[in-house]
């Protein structure tokens, strides 16, 4: 189990295309990955586009990524870096 916390910086939050990109990136890892919206306390699988949308992660929200599996460290570091890059926005 490996986890890390960061903040959503892209202006539209984790919606539409950024959410889709995020889920595609998460799908490349073997580990089970969980995303938690630390503002609401709700969490879900990082590989489910529909659940990610439901999390309603907006600009400025704090978010926790945790993973369990053979590539857990790589998965968490990779996804946190993606969020910190603004996901192309």
């Amino acid at each position: 189990m490996y986890e890390k916390t960061t903040k959503i910086i892209n202006p539209t939050g984790l919606h539409a295309r950024p959410a889709s990109d995020f889920v595609k990136a998460a799908g490349k890892y073997k580990s089970e990955i969980t995303v938690s919206n630390l503002e609401s306390g709700v969490s879900c699988s990082a590989k489910s586009i529909i659940m990610i949308l439901t999390l309603g992660l907006a600009n400025g929200n704090r978010v926790k990524i945790s993973a369990e599996g053979e590539d857990e460290r790589k998965a968490v570091e990779g996804l946190v870096a993606l969020i910190d890059s603004g996901i192309g926005e």
């Binding site: 539209t12 609401s40 879900c44 489910s48 659940m51 439901t54 309603g56």
Partner: protein, 573 residues
């Protein structure tokens, strides 16, 4: 007569088609252990078939209708959602039938999505159920129903339409869409709008009342449905239909045009908005911004004041839609003719001359501060022009700015960001500030002339009182002279000055405003195409000459007759 929510405007007259959606056949809930492999294959085959269908719809749509293609792209994402797929396979492995697993898992996700805090996301719950129906249908090997093979045009009447129902729909054959369920954010609404098909949704009991032989009249400008109307009424609606279509043609031809006068001078055409409807926001690319956002709509028809959070969301939405173009948000303008349920105001002898708009905000500092903080918070999403109404003098503006400064300091203390390029301007609607415009132009970043109130205060004629209607004269030289005073003063300071009242959208008065040097006109969406067309047919010199003549006339009647004669081609058909 039936009433519903008009979501895509227009008039349609025709025969109904009662449409019933696909209903999946019954299935076993559980299967024997030995059949798990079969059921898994059934699911995978159905999944592949459904994905193929969606891909075909998408690729056919991407070129002509990218907005609609997005819906089906999203459906593909949901169909192939890794977490959903995994859960379904798990359930099948636990001896549930493929259909039961699909039904339960998609249902559970839809339920969860329906509880999301964001209303736009909540609507996606319907997409999940739509994808579920598609998948179940594909697993039964039933082909998608084809609405494109209709013989003659019909008015489609349904309980609700799934996007998949409308995918194959031939817009030439559908005169209007009527449903019992749904609202402005439903798929049926989005799709009807994208095709320009009149649509009224949320009509209680309509599917049970319409018979195949009825003649149906749909007035989707007002959300009215009539069955078998008499000849007179029918004739009236036929005329309304023709008028609507003429106006729509004009809009199609001119709404995206660049409003540039014949001599090359660019005029800014902006939008007056209240509820910020999808139709209005959809035109953001064709227009130069929002010249007047009437925030009072957020306060109307409710028992409690809108929270800072709620206001921030509403303002941000408009700022985002107009990405980078000025969005002029006016602070609360109530009192006078506008009352609120959520704020009890003492009755006044002369409400138009009483505690209204900015004066009222000064009386209710908490309400004012909440709104100012919300505007500041929203400002990071676009270009905010913050405007104070009913500014009567420099002291009003100074006092309002003190409130704004205090709001900024409060946000600073909470480390909440706001933009540092916010423009702060005034409405010119009280003659006293027009007369002091040279001073005001130094203190404010911009001005917008509110001609409706400026008219009633200049003429001393209550515009809500029909008995003094003859004194409310839009073309009065006195009014144009006052506007000229304000316009000249702001132009001399190099500050933007526009008009956001009725005159801006009036085909005759707007030309005079151009002649007075005004280059920013804000109006309701329904006027924008006509005014753009007029601007493209005018040149600055001719407009200046017309304005000069009008300002020198004796009476409003004279001015009106003169303008009508000079500008006959500028009036709508």
């Amino acid at each position: 007569m039936f009433l519903g929510i008009p979501v895509s405007p227009g008039i349609a007259i025709g025969m109904p088609l009662l449409y019933e959606p696909f209903v999946p056949g019954p299935w076993q809930k559980k299967v024997e252990k030995g059949r798990v492999e079969d059921e898994l294959r059934r699911f995978e085959d159905g999944l592949a078939a459904a994905e193929k269908e969606l891909e075909k719809i998408c690729s056919g749509m991407k070129k002509n209708d990218p907005e609609k293609a997005k819906i089906f792209d999203a459906h593909k994402d949901m169909l192939c959602d890794a977490a959903i797929g995994e859960e379904i396979r798990q359930n099948i492995s636990n001896s549930f039938s493929a259909q039961e697993a699909v039904y339960q898992v998609f249902g559970a996700y839809a339920k969860q999505v329906a509880q999301a805090p964001d209303p736009v996301i909540r609507e996606r719950s319907a997409d999940l159920l739509d994808v579920r129906i598609r998948l179940l249908r594909c697993m039964q090997g039933v082909p998608e129903r084809d609405l494109s093979a209709l013989e003659k045009p019909v008015i489609l009447v349904a309980h609700d339409l799934l996007p998949s129902d409308t995918a194959s729909l031939d817009p030439q054959k559908i005169l209007a869409v009527l449903t019992e369920d749904g609202n402005t954010t439903s798929h049926s609404a989005i799709i009807a709008r994208s095709y320009g098909i009149p649509a009224v949704l949320g009509i209680a009991g309509i599917t049970g009342k319409v018979q195949p032989g009825n003649l149906v009249v749909v007035d989707a400008t007002q959300g009215k449905i009539l069955l078998d109307p008499d000849e007179t009424l029918l004739q009236a609606y036929r005329e309304k239909e023709a008028r609507f279509n003429r106006r729509r043609e004009l809009t199609r031809a001119w709404i995206t045009a660049e409003p540039r006068m014949k001599d090359g001078e660019r005029v800014h055409i902006e939008l007056n908005i209240g509820r910020a409807t999808p139709q209005e926001l959809a035109q953001a690319d064709s227009l130069d911004g929002v010249g007047l956002y009437r925030t009072e709509f957020l306060y109307m028809g409710r028992d409690t004041l809108p929270s800072e959070e709620e206001q921030t969301v509403a303002y941000s939405r408009v700022l985002q839609a107009f990405q980078g173009k000025p969005v002029t948000i006016r602070t609360l303008d109530v009192g006078g003719d506008k009352k609120l349920d959520c704020l009890e105001l003492p009755a006044e002898e002369n409400p138009f001359l009483g505690v209204r708009a900015l004066r009222l905000c000064f009386e209710y500092p908490d309400l004012f501060m909440t709104q100012l903080r919300a505007m500041l918070r929203a400002s990071i999403h676009g270009e905010l022009w913050l405007m104070f109404p009913m500014v009567g003098g420099l002291s009003d503006l100074r006092r309002a700015k003190e409130f704004l400064q205090k709001a900024k300091e409060e946000l600073d203390r909470s480390h909440i960001p706001y933009a540092d390029n916010i423009k702060v301007g005034i409405m010119v609607e009280i003659p006293s500030i027009a007369l002091m415009a040279d001073k005001a132009a130094r203190a404010a970043d911009f001005a917008s002339i509110g001609t409706n109130d400026l008219m009633q205060y200049t003429m001393a004629a209550d515009r809500m009182n029909p008995k003094v209607g003859q004194y409310c004269r839009m073309y009065d030289p006195a009014l144009f002279r006052l506007i000229r005073l304000a316009a000249d003063a702001f132009r001399a300071e190099g500050k933007p000055v526009g008009v956001c009242g009725e005159m801006g959208g009036d085909p005759l008065a707007s030309v005079v405003l151009l002649g007075l040097g005004i280059r920013r006109l804000s109006m309701g969406l329904s006027n924008a195409a006509q005014i753009k067309k007029n601007i493209c047919a005018m040149d600055a010199r001719r407009a200046a000459e017309l304005a000069q003549s009008v300002c020198e006339m004796d009476t409003a009647e004279e001015a009106q007759v003169y303008l009508k004669r000079q500008l006959a081609d500028f009036l709508p058909e």
